[in-house]
């Protein structure tokens, strides 16, 4: 036979030639020095280029952690949209066309339900907590994605907007009809920065301003827990559990205060910023969403918090993670 064609040679190099043809090529290459060296070249050239190319391009690739997390969250959200609610009757009322999917997501692990929690259970001394500050455990037990602590700490900002469709489902589940745009934040019970899932079981409509224990306050707690988890003071599962179980109690525990610390809208912050205070001051200003007459109301509501500031400045150095 004549020399092996280029086509046959490259396919042969891949071990993809039909056995009979391959046997013929092998027999020829064994005898023909020219084709043997062509084969070496074919193999060497592809390998050499491949190696050089991978080494050159790989440093350009961003770390995959954030993309993986985002992918997991989007899958969980898609899964959730296709699944009937944990409470089918309720779910059916706002999602009549949902198709049943038999396989329950395994990457979205439902946290243990911590028993029924109602606000009155916390006793009279905490009467500042108003309805809505905490989710109904039955509706929002909390859900997490499986993610390593290191990953959460490497990529700080994971908070992504909750898809509007999902927000509407959350409102429907809580019986909130026609919510005002600034009244609620559909918030994660367990924040994604601590491994919380974008899942209806981990979301509830959290009021911004009609309670002292509002979304802004919870943001402070989340920042604090994230910091503690990443500095190794607290393990991730404890942080998740405390958030899911009773975030207000968790706030009191981790900030060592009975009342929420001062909001940044209060300008009466004393001097002597340490890192801790600086961080709190950076949380979103509640005033930015307050308009018109409401602001007077809100100003009154925030007033009591200022009184707690002295306590806070005493307590904070003890909690400072600078160790």
């Amino acid at each position: 036979m004549g020399h092996v064609s280029d086509r046959d040679l490259v396919v042969y190099a891949d071990g993809e030639l039909a056995p009979t043809v391959a046997a013929r090529v092998r027999a020829h290459v064994d005898k023909c020095r020219l084709c043997a060296s062509r084969l070496d070249e074919v193999r060497g050239m592809a390998a050499g280029f491949g190696k050089e190319y991978r080494e050159a391009v790989s440093p350009l690739l961003p770390n995959p952690g954030a993309a993986r997390l985002s992918l997991q969250r989007q899958m969980a959200s898609l899964e959730e949209q296709a699944r009937p609610g944990v409470w089918p009757r309720l779910a059916a009322s706002f999602a009549p066309a949902r198709i049943r999917v038999g396989v329950v997501s395994l990457t979205v692990a439902l946290l243990v339900v911590f028993g029924l929690y109602s606000i009155s259970d916390r006793g009279g001394s905490y009467s500042t907590a108003e309805a809505g500050s905490e989710p109904v455990t039955r509706l929002t037990p909390g859900a997490t994605v499986q993610v390593a602590r290191a990953e959460l700490c490497r990529n700080k900002s994971h908070a992504s907007a909750v898809p509007l469709v999902l927000q509407q489902q959350v409102f429907a589940r809580y019986g909130v009809v026609d919510p005002k745009p600034d009244a609620y934040e559909v918030d994660y019970l367990i924040t994604p920065e601590l491994g919380g899932a974008t899942d209806i079981r981990n979301l509830w409509p959290e009021p911004y301003f009609n309670t002292a224990w509002n979304a802004r306050v919870k943001d402070q707690l989340e920042d604090r827990l994230h910091q503690m988890v990443c500095s190794g003071e607290l393990d991730l599962s404890t942080a998740q559990r405390d958030l899911a179980k009773d975030w207000i109690r968790a706030y009191r525990k981790y900030f060592r205060t009975e009342q929420p610390l001062s909001q940044p809208a209060d300008s009466e912050k004393p001097d002597g910023d340490d890192d801790q205070e600086g961080r709190i001051a950076q949380t979103r200003a509640p005033a930015d969403a307050v308009r018109g007459e409401d602001s007077v109301e809100n100003a009154k509501r925030y007033r009591p918090n200022v009184q707690r500031l002295e306590d806070a400045t005493v307590a904070l150095p003890l909690l400072s993670p600078r160790t």
């Binding site: 490259v10 070249e41 050239m45 491949g50 050089e52 190319y53 995959p64 992918l71 899958m75 396989v103």
Partner: protein
Amino acid sequence: MPAEPATALTPEREVVELFDEMRDRLLRYLLCLGLSAHDGEEILQETFLQLFQHLRKGKSRQNLRGWLFRVARNLALRQRTITRSRQQSQIQFDENLFSGSGAGGMTPEDELHRRRRQSRLLAVVRALPEKDRSCLYLRAEGLRYREIAGILGIGLGSVAASLSRSMERLKRADS
């Protein structure tokens, strides 16, 4: 949480495993097609979400790796309009591709030689038609001829011809 049997992977788990295995290879390929890392990542999100839907619907699981390359490539080509910015990022990328630092202890002459060689190879790769380039890059990602043919939607013979053509050109530039 009950332990799940290893045999029955959920679609989510399977997608995450494939993501971990394939993401770098796919993203490198998208960069080679001239996408920025940012655009490439967005296309990969879309690709893996499509894979998730594909698996959930119980569709064919044959050669999922090839499937991923094909979908990513189609999304990339759809998005890729020839704009200045794209060409800009392509050129930047090309330069990165061949300007990686050489082995340590090179003499200046060696280094010069290496750079000259690289710019020659770069010129060759740049001049290749998109399909030939794709063949070369996919091959460099370790894909077999048959898989490349499936991804690009061309015959096995065309892949072989394309690769031997490209290699011949590279060889000539390298001599």
